[in-house]
Symmetry: C2
Subunit: 379 residues, 2 copies
Amino acid sequence: MKKNYLDDIQDTLLLGAGPSGVAPSTYRAISTNIIGHLDPYFIEIMEQIKSGLRELMGTQNEVTVPLSGTGSSGMEAAFVNTVERGDKVLILENGVFGNRMEDVASRLGAVVTKEEFEWGTPVRPERVRELLAQDHYKIVAIVHAETSTGVRNPVEEIGQIVHDAGSLYLVDAVTSLGGIPVEVDKWHADICYSGTQKCLSCPPGAAPITFSPAAMEVVANRSCKVPNWYLDMNMLTKYWGGSKRVYHHTAPISMMFALYQAIYNIQAEGLENVYARHMRVHKRLVAGLEKLGLKMLVEPQYRLPELNTVLIPEGIDEAKLRAQLLDKYHIEVSGGLGALAGKVIRIGLMGYNATDENVDRLLAAMKEIMADMAASSAA
Amino acid sequence: MKKNYLDDIQDTLLLGAGPSGVAPSTYRAISTNIIGHLDPYFIEIMEQIKSGLRELMGTQNEVTVPLSGTGSSGMEAAFVNTVERGDKVLILENGVFGNRMEDVASRLGAVVTKEEFEWGTPVRPERVRELLAQDHYKIVAIVHAETSTGVRNPVEEIGQIVHDAGSLYLVDAVTSLGGIPVEVDKWHADICYSGTQKCLSCPPGAAPITFSPAAMEVVANRSCKVPNWYLDMNMLTKYWGGSKRVYHHTAPISMMFALYQAIYNIQAEGLENVYARHMRVHKRLVAGLEKLGLKMLVEPQYRLPELNTVLIPEGIDEAKLRAQLLDKYHIEVSGGLGALAGKVIRIGLMGYNATDENVDRLLAAMKEIMADMAASSAA
């Protein structure tokens, strides 16, 4: 009998930047017996997912669907459907995912202006106002919750400015959806996408996305077809559409079962309760970290409760800390990216894993490891 | 308590054009507890998937990975990585998926020549030879197993011709992989992709793809970046690569567990045994259908064992036949596409569901329904 490597896999408490932990009910859902992608039962699941996503995303947009790819396919779809060669795009960057937006949009022929803000600080609305007074952009793009830094950007205030300037407003909500309020309509967001593996507590593999009527008008009136058949919203809208469905591709059925259940779980707990829980465990974590003598990268008012970036003082090897957490305590946390590599760890408290017990388990483990490290460096 | 629509879902015997049935071991695999996408255990699963796919696809290509999207994302990746604006592409079309290739390639700026062959008949190698004598094409593309008609195209013979002409050879193996031999290296195929939800008996949601060294040289030496960040093989190769991995996107972990197990199951049975089983049940089906007075669309030597296209005689309403199979017998078969809509049904005998028992259950159900139909039309 050939070795089965799945047998080796250890249970791990996922407290990193994603994927997050998955509820037992969602594991059951993902292993529901497959049915056809044109089966009436599957059509019903599709309808329920669409209406659930509208509630979670705070939108009335008819075009609100999960794409058949991970969160990164959401970023790709957001730009490839709306950008044409030569279009001006303003990207408000304060982390890795803002930089990725520049790469994605440039490849499609956009003329990108990237405005950089210091990592760990938010995008400043007054600067956006100045930029939009100087030039007109077809699209202004921002990341709501920067996974690389733990910063929450003031997307509502900026949304009003972008709306007044007559640009399309594109918001990345990968790490926010299901953890902090996402209010697409209130923000005047025209395109907003997310992933499933963060605060939705669903495995990675689908990307919720929504397009406002104004954004869909741009997509429908392009001078050429969307240069991406797989992510063409004109076709996807017909596949996911109401009475008359047109076959496009075979949806990832099992992932859709899981997403349905993940949304169901959030609705059953109640959105407001879910947000309150994320905030409560975040405060518990920060208080505990401060007791350990650790400081947060981000000022309190811009912190994401679901993604906590912790400064690691000189003398502590953060890679060793993370390795010991994983190997000895079976807890995963994430390291820093880009300029923050080696200087921070990132602790995710997302969805199903955002509990007091998990916070306490992590803090206890960190305390032991840090005491060991102090003892061995003193020795 | 809110209604949970997953509770409504009926067990269905999937004998359509896909998705196919999934083995219990693969359902267990897909609900394995999630680990991080950078976890050493996950890296091991990735390595096993790559080597397993090489065996199944008959190739030594280092670049042999699953994409994080359904089979259609494989087609997208095949063209978007290799096509640049103005490149000549020859598409050998004898079904829906050949037509889709034309759409995908055209959107990317390719100058497409589509050579049509009658649906239900194979692409003719001598015609390909003529076309390649008249003009040079950067890429020649073909579908190995046309899911819309049930035809197996002579990809090996055509591969030699394309190779001699110095074009890149692009083969769609969505419905063939795991059902009939796929021999990428022997065929001189430069790019070959598949889906998971056909003969691999894995849920939809990933697309195995392989690029020859010659194809990767074209990708590496493009005049501009691949206009699709999500499917850029230069970056994906580094993410899936050997010793030094560069983060790209979060892989669909659960789907990867399922794909690992699906490959494991095929290897445990033995590739040759799997092909023999598909052929045996196909012959049993055809014999049974002929007893019911039904004829096949495709000539015997070009038939796919895993996808059987059956002509439905006048007087039998094929939509009603399929509806009764689904509602009363919980068996899904597929209707015809395009010009074949209303004229045929398509019976899939793929992977886990390719068994004598399933063939007999389907034939018994069809016999009853057709007898009822005959009785009620005589009344």
